[in-house]
Point group: C3
C-alpha cells in the first residue's frame, strides 16, 4: 500500500482542509492526477484496496458525494458497505460510535461520514481505529469537495496560485465555500465571497465580501457558483427575483470575467437560479469535469489515508484484526 | 468488447422492440443462448464488462427486473450502482437528466431505467452519451421482457416463427403485451389479445382481439397470462369472479390447447386469479424458466449495446473519459 | 467446494441449533477458526464462493447480522443481493416463496433470512432448492449467533465444555438465549437464565432460572447480557430502576464472578441499562470480539452449507441451472 512516491503522508483521517499543509494539498492533487486516467473505470486501476471494505455512513442525503466515494473505492478494488441510517439499529438507539465500532470489528479500513452536526466526523475519529473521511459536516467542512475543485482548476488553468476566485451566493450555509476559502487562503489566493447581504452576515470565517458581483467579475480567474440551500434557510427570506437579477451567472455577465475564466458549481445545480442553461452547459463550465475529478480525488484520498493507516498498523505490529496476538 | 460474431449490432441504446429488425431480434437471442450457461453465476462468464459500472435507475418499484439486470451485469464483471430516487438529490429538485449526466461523469457505461412516464428512456438517451436500456416505461414498452419471452419460447418450442400466441388478461395496461405484440408481428406470428371487453378497449396498438378464451385455445402454441394490474385500474371496475371463471388458466382449460403448448407469465403471478397453482407449477409452465432466460437475455443486451457504445467511442477517438484530449 | 477436511457436513440449510449434533457444532467452530485470519478482509480469503450470489432477505431490520453475513459472503468471493422488502414486489402481494423461487431462478446459492414469524425460514427451505440460513425468526432461533458466541468463548476460554453460563435479562423475548441454551445443553454445560420474574415467565424452553444474579455470579465462566427488547414488550411493564439495580453488570458486580470470567452481549447494547460503560469497554468484555467471530462463523456456515448443496447438485447431475438437461 505504501507507495514510494508518498512516504510523507501521515494523516489516516481527512477531517478538514484546516488540518492540511500546502505541501499536503499538492500531494493530494498529484496523486489525484495519477489516478485520473482510471477514474472512469474503463482502464483497470491499481487494486491498492483489493478485498478491503469501506463504509459509507451518510446520515444526510447525498447522491453525488456518496456515489463518488463509492466509485472511487470500488475502482481501487474495495467493497463499499452502504450504511442506511433508517434501516438500521440506530432505530434501537445505539450510538453512532457503537455502531461504527461494531462494523469496524467486522473489518473496515475507512468510514466516509456525512453528518448534520458539526465535528461529528472528528468525534467519530476518536471512537474508532480505522480511517475517517469527512464527506460534509453541517456547514463546517467538506474537504474532498475543495480538493476536487482544486484539481479541476489546476487541470484547466494550469496553476493553483496567484488566482482570484469569486464564491457566489449562499456562502453563509456552505461548507463548500468554507473548505474552499481555507484551501485558497493557504495557497495565497484571493477569495471573494459574493452575494446579497443576508448571505454575508454571521459568517464564522474571515473573508473578503461584496454584494456587487459585476464589480469583481473582471478580476476573477474562476467563478464558483454555490447552490442556494433553500432547505437550510429556516426564517431567512430571500427575494428570488432580486437574487436572480443580481447574482445569476448569465452569458452577458460571464462576458465581464477574464476570457480564460472558468465556471464551477458543486451541484446539484438549481438551473435558472444560480446560472442559466447556456452557462451551465457552455464551454467555460467545468461542472461535469469537477464530478470526474471528484472520483480521482477520492481515489487519492482513500489511497493516502489508508496507506497511513497501514503504516500505523505495521508500527503497532498488527497484521490481522489487531485484536489478538 | 467487439465480439467477432456480432459486428453488425449498431444500437448503443435499447429503447423498444419498435427499433429492432427481425435480424437484430435473432441476434439478441443467439447471443443470449451463448450466455445461457453462465446465467446462474456458477460457471464464470466472459468478463466483458470487467471494471465497468452500470446504473439502475428505477423510479418505479421492481424486484425481478432490477435484480435480473443486476445479476446480468455483475456476472459480466460490471459493478451495479442502485440509484434510489427517494434517497437522492431528486429531493433537491435536480432533473433526472442532470442527475444522470452527473453520475455519467463519474464513469458509467449504461443506465437501466424504469420510469412511470412513457418515453422517459428516450428523453434520457438524448441527454447522456452512455447506453440507455429501457426496463419499462409506463404501459408503453418493456423490450427485454419480450426478448426473454422469445428466448424461452425458442428454447422450449424450437422456433419463433409460424406461431399462434394468446396474450390473456390485462392487455390494456401491459407494456409486456405491447412489446410482445410488436416482436411477434415482426416475426410474422399471430398474436391474439384475449380478455374481457374492459381490457380490450382503448388499445393504442392494432391487434386481433377476442373475449372468448376457450375458442382460441386450441390454436395456441403459447399462452401468455398477464398480471392483472389492479394498481393501474383507477376507475375501471373488474368483476373478479367473472374474470376467474372466463379467463383463469386451469388444468381443464389448458387441456384445450395444443398438447405441446407452453404457459408463460411475466410475473409477479396473482395465484388463484390468472392461473391456478397446478398450472403455475405444472410441467407446461415456463414461468421460472423465463426468469432464467431473463438473466441471459440481459447479459446479451448489455454486451451488445455497450459493444456498440465502445465502437462509437473508438470512432470518436475517446479512450479515457472522453472529456479531454 | 468440497473441502477434504469436511466430508461429513450434510446440511445444506442451517435453520436452528436444534438440528445440529455436538460433532457438527465443533465442525462449524473448527472451520470458523480456519477462516478467522481472513475475517477482516485484509488478507485475501480462499475464494470458495467466487462468482456465486447470496440473497439477504431481511424482513426485520438489522444492521449487524445483515452486515456480518454480507462481509462473510463477499470475503469468500460471492456477491450479495440485498432484498429490500419495502421496495419490492412484496408490495404487489406476491408470496415470499414465489419471490424467493423467482430470484433463485436467476442463480442463487443461498438465502439468508430474518423474519418476524417463527419457522418462516423452515417454510422457505421447503419452497426453494438452494441453501437457507436462518438469521433470526421471531424469538425462536438465531443459530449463527449461538455459534459465534461459542467461537468467542472457545477462543477466549480455551474450551466449550464444563462451563457455567448466566444468560441475563430479557430471556423471554430472546432467540439468542434460546439458541444458546440449545447449544450449551447439547455440550453439557450449565445454563442459568437470570432476570426479573416477568422475563422468566412463559418460557417455551426448559431452563434453570433465578431472579438472584448476585448469587449465581461466583459460579459463572461466562456472563451473557441480553438486550432488553423494549420493542417486543407490548403490555409488559418493566421497572427500569429496579432492573438496573438488580441486573445491570457493574464493575462491582463483575468482581463477584470467577476471575477469568468473560462478558458477552449480542448487541446492540443499551449502555447504562444492561451494563455500564466500564464493563462494556473493559478488559473482560468480548463484545467486539464476538462481532469479529461473527464474520468468521458466517464464512464457515456459508462454506459448509453451500458445499453440501454443491454435493447434492452433483449427485443429481445438475451442473448448470438444474432446469434443463
Amino acid at each position: 500500500m505504501a507507495k514510494p512516491s508518498t512516504p510523507q503522508w501521515t494523516h489516516k483521517h481527512l477531517l478538514g482542509i484546516e488540518d492540511l499543509s500546502v505541501g499536503e494539498i499538492r500531494m493530494v492533487l498529484d496523486t489525484a492526477d495519477e489516478f485520473f486516467p482510471y477514474a472512469a473505470g474503463r482502464k483497470p486501476a491499481p487494486q491498492v484496496l483489493e478485498g478491503r471494505t469501506i463504509m459509507n455512513l451518510f446520515i444526510e442525503d447525498s447522491t453525488r458525494t456518496r456515489t463518488s466515494f463509492t466509485f472511487a473505492a470500488e475502482r481501487l478494488g474495495a467493497r463499499v458497505f452502504q450504511f442506511h441510517a433508517t434501516t438500521s439499529s440506530l432505530n434501537k438507539k445505539e450510538s453512532l460510535a457503537d455502531t461504527a465500532r461494531n462494523v469496524e470489528a467486522m473489518g473496515l479500513e475507512a468510514i466516509v461520514i456525512r453528518h448534520p452536526e458539526r465535528n461529528a466526523p472528528h468525534r467519530l475519529a476518536e471512537a474508532v481505529r480505522c480511517s475517517v473521511l469527512n464527506a460534509g459536516d453541517d456547514s463546517h467542512e467538506h474537504p474532498t469537495q475543495a480538493l476536487l475543485d482544486l484539481q479541476a482548476i489546476r487541470r484547466r488553468l494550469g496553476r493553483i496560485e496567484g488566482l482570484t476566485l469569486a464564491l457566489v451566493g449562499d456562502v453563509r450555509h456552505s461548507r463548500v465555500a468554507r473548505s474552499n476559502l481555507l484551501a485558497h487562503s493557504k495557497l495565497g489566493n484571493r477569495v471573494i465571497f459574493v452575494g446579497p447581504q443576508v448571505f454575508l452576515e454571521d459568517l464564522d470565517v474571515q473573508a473578503e465580501t461584496t454584494t456587487d458581483f459585476d464589480a469583481v467579475l473582471p478580476q476573477c480567474d474562476a467563478v464558483m457558483m454555490l447552490r442556494v440551500q433553500f432547505e437550510r434557510h429556516e426564517s431567512l427570506v430571500l427575494n428570488i427575483d432580486e437574487y436572480v437579477r443580481n447574482y445569476q451567472l448569465t452569458p452577458a455577465r460571464l462576458a465581464r470575467a477574464k476570457p480564460e475564466a472558468i465556471v464551477l458549481h458543486p451541484g446539484p445545480v438549481n438551473r435558472g437560479i444560480e446560472l442559466t442553461n447556456e452557462v451551465a452547459d457552455g464551454p467555460r463550465s467545468v461542472i461535469l469535469y469537477q464530478t470526474t475529478c471528484g472520483v480521482a480525488t477520492r481515489m487519492a484520498v482513500l489511497s493516502l489515508c489508508i496507506g497511513a493507516l497501514e503504516r500505523e498498523r505495521a508500527c503497532n505490529g498488527e497484521d490481522t484484526l489487531g485484536q489478538e496476538g
